[in-house]
Symmetry: C2
Subunit: 258 residues, 2 copies
DNA sequence: CGTGATGTTCCGAAGAGTGGAACGGCGTTC
DNA sequence: GAACGCCGTTCCACTCTTCGGAACATCACG
């Protein structure tokens, strides 16, 4: 990446805002300063600037910093203007109704798989994955299917970073992972069973744009208690159909869609 | 506002990202440059920096700039960690079920009223207002109720900026508006009928935190075809109950909740 | 193959951002 | 109630980063 063609302040700002997570939404100045290894004065100036713009706010009892309202605005604009999400929504809804399982739309972005949209079912036992949440690129059906269509060197980079184990069946061996990816490319879909969360299984299929590039994955996630080979087979077909339908509306040619 | 205690780059970055809206999600470099009155070289450096961080992406057919995936992540974190939203959600859901109208949670932020959360009904005819969308502070029930509890000088500032008309019954006269706000403070809720959109009416009630400050509004919005004085009266009571329930869970004392 | 539009890179100058240090406010300890 | 320690805030002179005009590259169109 080109070091010169950038603005350091932007990188810093992103670092600051990236500190806020669902698990850790509130930070005091000192805490943030320690976490980011930035002088308090610098960070303070930063936070005040962010606050002025509604990117962060501070609680008026504790005065810890929290994410601000403008992030909600931007997030909704980003969601609403993502072509794939817009096109996928009705197809995902249909898929959710016929399968009665949680349906996910995921994208790969720099080393992570991001959940861009989801539809949950009415089942009381269901897999819940929040929009905006991120997962490892090697574990789970959606992750694997996205990884399978990544450029060679990107795959190697992911493997080099390491393949941590999340559950009993997480694939942590590079050789096994490479052959699994090859298998996925062969048959055009990915399966997982307790790779990320105990008690969960999933299916995922690739979504292609007009150029034939895989730009997203449509996935289905359910509890293992509702797993059966029969159901899996049925759902695979349905997921493939859904992904292909989305691809077609993105302009993908016949050749791309198996 | 303190001019010195800030970082210009942050303000600029916000300006850039603020250009993207649901109506205008894609911008070419030249378009943005014209809009923001920034040299193309500067803007380009900026955009590349934002792109590196996933705040914007460019289409690989047209290479226009669009909101990036990280905004989705931040938005979901901001939503998920907003205490008020979390607390309000179940109460709003109940309200939506009993009234079968769209329920809104709104907050006032620097001259605008932002929709922070919503629950839509199953009615095919319904009022749809997106999360993250923004409205004028003087038109509509939610806006008026939030404005009613603003500090005096903030109210005056809004009036000075101007009170544009959005619909036939928008209050555009400062005197009328001030007395309407007074009326809202008296009875503790706001009503609107075709103030923002033709064919829509609404109710809104204030939500208070532990300090007694009004921090949000719970609103109900429906089509005028389903309006009746009787229904309005019933819904006002229900909205008040809902807002009070949320306030109580935010720690508001008995005295604050009328 | 020229023309005009766009996007991209370069580089010297200038001033915006930096961060150590000092300050002020608040709660806690002795 | 004085002294201490912790945290947030402000200050200011130096310096490194960003700025933006201009040159360059790329592409579409005639």
């Amino acid at each position: 990446m080109d070091e010169r063609a950038s603005v350091r302040t932007i990188d810093r700002m992103v670092e600051v805002l990236d500190c806020f997570s669902v698990d850790r939404p509130a930070w005091s100045l000192t805490e943030l300063s320690a976490r980011l290894d930035l002088p308090k004065s610098t960070l303070h100036r930063f936070l005040v600037g962010l606050e002025r713009n509604g990117l962060v706010r501070r609680g008026h009892d504790d005065n810890k910093w929290r994410p601000g309202h403008r992030l909600v605005i931007w997030g909704s604009v980003a969601s609403a203007t993502n072509d794939i999400q817009q096109i996928a929504a009705p197809i995902m809804r249909e898929l959710a109704e016929t399968t009665r399982e949680t349906i996910l739309l995921t994208e790969y972005h720099v080393g992570e798989v991001v959940c861009m949209d989801k539809i949950e079912t009415s089942h009381s036992v269901r897999i819940a994955l929040d929009v905006g949440s991120r997962r490892a690129p090697h574990a789970g059906a959606s992750s694997k299917v996205l990884m399978a269509y990544l450029p060679e060197d990107e795959v190697e980079r992911i493997i080099e970073v390491g393949l941590p184990r999340y559950c009993e069946r997480t694939i942590t061996d590079p050789v096994a992972l490479r052959s699994e990816l090859e298998r996925i490319r062969q048959c055009g879909y990915a399966l997982s069973y307790e790779e990320t969360d105990c008690g969960a299984w999933g299916i995922a299929t690739p979504v292609r744009d007009w150029s034939g590039a895989v730009v997203a994955a449509v996935g289905l996630a359910g509890p293992t208690v509702r797993y059966s080979d029969d159901a899996a087979q049925r759902y695979v077909a349905l997921c493939c159909d859904a992904a292909d339908a989305i691809s077609r509306r993105l302009g993908a040619g016949r050749a791309d869609i198996r």
